[in-house]
Amino acid sequence: ELKVEQNPLFLSMQEGKNYTIYCNYSTTSDRLYWYRQDPGKSLESLFVLLSNGAVKQEGRLMASLDTKARLSTLHITAAVHDLSATYFCAVDRSTGNQFYFGTGTSLTVIP
């Protein structure tokens, strides 16, 4: 069974600080996706990583993928309150484009 684990599960950080969220997965895959979910809302796609060494950046967020280590990171630079949300990574297992989601990281940015 494919397992996708994120850590930390909960993260409280001050505005202006940097931090990294980690996503580990248990099976070979070179396709990983990051999503954001605001409370009570649906999921919004952030990044699509489709190869080893892929790096994508959007604003204060940067995602990377190391398929050999089965690890993806989501780095937050100089956090602002608007980044408060739950972040999910998802691994694509097969040609059916079936995603397996991580446990989620609930991020709270404190002014």
């Binding site: 996706y33 809302k41 649906s42 999921l43 796609s45 059916g96 484009n97 995603f99 991580g102 446990t103």
Partner: protein, 113 residues
């Protein structure tokens, strides 16, 4: 552009009642379609996925079923709801035949009384 519609947004049902949630996608052909459930404060659990009309794969055994009567329509059903069926149900689509991100609908919040 592609859009995904999911309804109803909120539903309160008694235990033992039937369920029908509907999802439609516009602006694309032959999409992959998915149903997920998210329990309160938890991650997403893949329930069903479909790569074409009438083709449904189930990821977990349960009292739910799914159908795809048309290319861009995906329906989640139950004959008798259980308390444990409460949750946030999300429909998603992706481009068929290749690796691509999944795009989610706004979700249905289902409460079982």
């Amino acid at each position: 552009s592609q859009t995904i519609h999911q309804w109803p947004a909120t539903l309160v049902q008694p235990v033992g009642s039937p369920l029908s949630l509907e999802c439609t996608v516009e602006g694309t052909s032959n999409p992959n379609l998915y149903w997920y459930r998210q329990a309160a404060g938890r991650g997403l659990q893949l329930l069903f996925y479909s790569v074409g009309i009438g083709q449904i794969s189930s990821e977990v055994p349960q009292n739910l079923s799914a159908s795809r009567p048309q290319d861009r329509q995906f329906i989640l059903s139950s004959k008798k709801l259980l308390l444990s069926d409460s949750g946030f149900y999300l429909c998603a689509w992706s481009v068929g035949g290749k690796a691509s991100t999944q795009h989610f609908g706004d979700g249905t919040r289902l409460s079982i009384l």
